[in-house]
């Protein structure tokens, strides 16, 4: 068991190093000099001598004056100190502060959406597997939901429940007239603004899980062990329990695979609802050519997905004894 997790940890550490490196490489290999671009955007170059001095100043400020390998090492060094650089868009706020301010919104949106859709989708899918009327209603609805693009459903919800029905606000993380505070007014405004983005993420994922679980449970209920138990007169309750436990295993793997998709979906959803989370930051960073901010947000997303995958790996070992048996070596 220890060896298994040791091996897994090494794989995750390597993945993390590679991801961080790519994250550092991409802005640096993009065409164009960011400092030059910044200066050009300020107006026509009237005094070349002065421009050279300014460029030199900025290059030193951002650390572009040293060789690339030195820049790379500096980047890691700064990373360990929690320094992600300074945002250009919100100058002079450090990127880490901008990201940390947005992080709770994204987590508050993603965690409940992922966990609830997975949990309820599996429950409803398993029920649909053995009730005709549920099957006939859940299946088509599930197909439509899971085939819907995130932002399209988000726009539909914003239009129907927000603009037409006027129940929910369609933009922002809380009322524009409010300041963050510990009060009922602020909390309820937060909840109202949270609901629509959450609902659109939840519904799309829910449809996928329900369909998957329905098919898996039907397959398990016709498996040999289910038939054998039925031949020995076991009550349907026991057989269904076994089928559910077996069918949930591929769904756990599916959750690990779907995490990236869900995070991507949340970026689009946040943009649609102008929700102040990481997704919106990505959008703003791109709009304002704020590469330090973009780099910082992507770093957080990568680390988040890796941590979640690692947690799922651990959970999988707990729920599937076959992985454990494989670790200890089979005794004949």
């Amino acid at each position: 068991m220890g060896r298994y997790f040791g091996r897994k940890s090494i794989v995750y550490a390597l993945t993390c190093i590679v991801a961080v490196t790519i994250n550092w490489l991409v802005p640096r290999f993009m065409p164009g000099d960011p400092v030059l671009q910044m200066l050009i955007s300020r107006g026509p170059d009237t005094n070349p001598e002065q421009t050279a001095v300014i460029m030199d100043y900025y290059n030193r400020l951002f650390g572009f004056d040293v060789p690339l390998w030195q820049q790379y090492l500096n980047y890691w060094g700064a990373l360990f100190k929690g320094d992600l650089g300074v945002s250009v868009w919100l100058f002079p706020t450090p990127v880490a502060d901008v990201v940390l301010r947005a992080l709770p919104y994204t987590l508050g949106l993603l965690l409940p959406a992922i966990l609830l859709s997975w949990f309820l989708g599996n429950k409803v899918g398993a029920m649909a597997a053995r009730r005709k009327w549920l099957d006939n209603s859940v299946l088509p609805v599930g197909y439509v939901l899971t085939a819907t693009p995130y932002m399209w459903l988000a726009i539909l919800l914003a239009w129907s429940l927000g603009i037409v029905a006027g129940i929910f606000p369609t933009a922002g993380g809380y009322g524009f007239d409010l300041q963050p505070a510990v009060s009922w007014e602020f909390a309820s405004s937060l909840a109202m603004h949270w609901f629509l983005p959450f609902l659109s993420l939840f519904l799309v994922a829910f449809g996928g899980w329900a369909i998957g679980m329905r098919n898996l449970v039907i397959y398990e209920l016709e498996s040999d062990y289910a038939n054998y138990l039925a031949a020995l007169g076991a009550p349907p309750r026991l057989i269904r329990r076994y089928a559910f436990r077996n069918a949930i295993l591929p769904q756990v793997t599916g959750l690990a695979l779907q995490l990236g998709v869900l995070v991507g979906g949340s970026i689009l959803t946040e943009v649609v609802f102008a929700y102040p989370g990481l997704g919106n930051l990505v959008f703003q960073a791109l709009l304002h050519r704020d590469f330090f901010l973009l780099q910082g947000v992507v770093l957080f997303i990568v680390i988040g997905v890796l941590v979640a995958n690692f947690v799922i790996d651990v959970v999988y070992v707990l729920v599937d004894p076959r992985t454990r048996a494989g670790m200890q070596g089979v005794s004949a």
Binding site: S223, D224, Y225, N227, Y228, L229, A230, A231, L232, G233, A234, P235, R237, L238, Y242, R245, N246, L249, V319, D320, P321, R322, A325, V330, S331, A332
Partner: protein, 316 residues
Amino acid sequence: MSLQVDGLRVRYRTLRGDVHALDGVTFEVADGEIMGLVGESGCGKTTLAKSLIRLDGRMQYVDGVVELDGVKLPIDDQHAMNRFRFTQISFVPQYAMSALNPIRKIGKMIAELLESRGFDYKSIQPELERRLDLVGLPRDVLRRYPIELSGGMKQRTVVVVSTLLDPSLLVADEATSALDVSNQKAVAETLVEFRDRRFVRSVIVVTHDISLGYQIADTIMVMYAGKQAEKAPAEVIVNSPRHPYTQALMSSLPEVGVRYEDRRLAGIPGSPPPLLNPPSGCRFRDRCPLAFDQCAEEPPFVEIATGHSVACWKAA
């Protein structure tokens, strides 16, 4: 009298019509008898085995009576049948490799199964362990997952589980077909030993392997196209069969000491009739070398000697 089956008819419902897989089967299995049920693929032997324990969704009971120890079994009522399963009549499947829930330890699965049927696992566990010893399985298989057992071990485990409550009748459906010969022998011997120790009183061994049936069965029933052809003590079936089909079947088996270089092993020409619309009269008559006019009428299944019944006009 352990098992009495009278005129059992079971059909498969298909889109093209009903397949008459079991068309009026009547036989008895005595207390302590091991009956081999042989025949080629599609003759209805597995349908018969399944009918006795659990009809699957496509199977439709038509008529006939099944009595076990004088009690009529409600074989067309899945729910009412549950009371008899495992306790009175039990089942060893062909698919022992996958018959155990892969994510439960075997002991825990047995405990959950027993408790779901209202039995106390703790009081049965000592007997369970004795029986594992008997079939040569270490007691710690109960603490293992099915994936940790070999195929032969799984099959023996399934036999022990199925017979744990000392049922009157055990139906073993091709229980050894998926095993290599040494494991086949171990499982076959286990079945005989369990009968001798009266863990089970009677056994029906469904097999396409006549030599295996001959080795462990007291009597053999030969089926053809959904009907019985012949039932007799194993010795008689092998040495002096009366039904032309049984005779042809026996002559298709290779014999020890005979070289088949010069002479090809005789098979049975033709193939069984379709059971979607079975022909009237004797169903073997198109392939039968002895067929004559009377075969257009259906031959009755009659006893021609003690314990020897045949459905053939020529044999009667």
